[in-house]
Symmetry: C2
Subunit: 117 residues, 2 copies
DNA sequence: GGTTCAAATAGATGGCTGTCGATCTGGAAC
DNA sequence: GTTCCAGATCGACAGCCATCTATTTGAACC
């Protein structure tokens, strides 16, 4: 977790050839790394990744009752995965009467996508 | 895990308006989702994400002894994270004498990157 | 051989995660 | 009000994960 970036401590290297003199720094700082890792972690499950895929393909909102039968999982488990995605800021939800609809939050994946490119 | 795609079971809907008649399918199939989720999961830790960032910026190989002091973590912990990245196929390693060098495997992130775009 | 050093592995531990069945919530319709 | 249904939440449990210290491996040098 803790990433200590202030001048990487010199590994004392008395004699012999140094293994690698120029110390290297991450261009991506701690906070950005934590933001992107949070997104990546939420996508790090095949079910959640497919959920996001479905929601992205259907630019509008998709009813939970449509999502559940796509997987060989119980309704509470799918609900749990949707909650994880919502906590990561990837999707949003909206109740309409008896049903709940989920949708992808635009730009939620943009930072990670840009870094990967 | 198991994603059952053969004709999503009709949720019986006797009377009243249907919540959502056209059932929706993921365009990303199970195997692709599992491949990409595996990559995303490996990137789902800030330390690993920064490690990949450093390795990507330095197109050549980077010595482990340079990576360890970048983080406020023990050497075995950094070694563990590198092992996770290697198991995911994101990085490769190479020993040279006393030291070990890591490098990013080209195209390892490409599928996920393409899907995110 | 013996010493030294870089890196990997082993083992332990506390915390998180994916899954389930059971229950709760709250809107719709009667 | 009562009933019914969609969805969320709860509680439990097994498995995984990030981290540490201690140890092992293996290459280099004396």
């Amino acid at each position: 977790m803790a990433v200590d970036l202030e001048l990487a401590p010199k590994t004392k290297r008395p004699a012999g050839e140094p293994c690698c003199e120029p110390v290297v720094y991450p261009d991506v700082e701690r906070e950005q790394a934590e933001r992107m890792a949070k997104i990546a972690k939420a996508l790090g499950d095949p079910v959640r990744l497919q959920l996001v895929d479905v929601l992205r393909k259907h630019a509008g909102k998709v009813c939970v009752c449509e999502l559940v039968p796509l997987f060989d999982l119980s309704q509470p488990t799918v609900s749990h995965h949707l909650k994880v995605l919502r906590a990561a800021g990837i999707v949003g939800s909206e109740r309409q009467g008896l049903w709940a609809y989920y949708y992808v939050i635009p730009d939620a994946l943009e930072e990670l996508s840009a870094w990967l490119s």
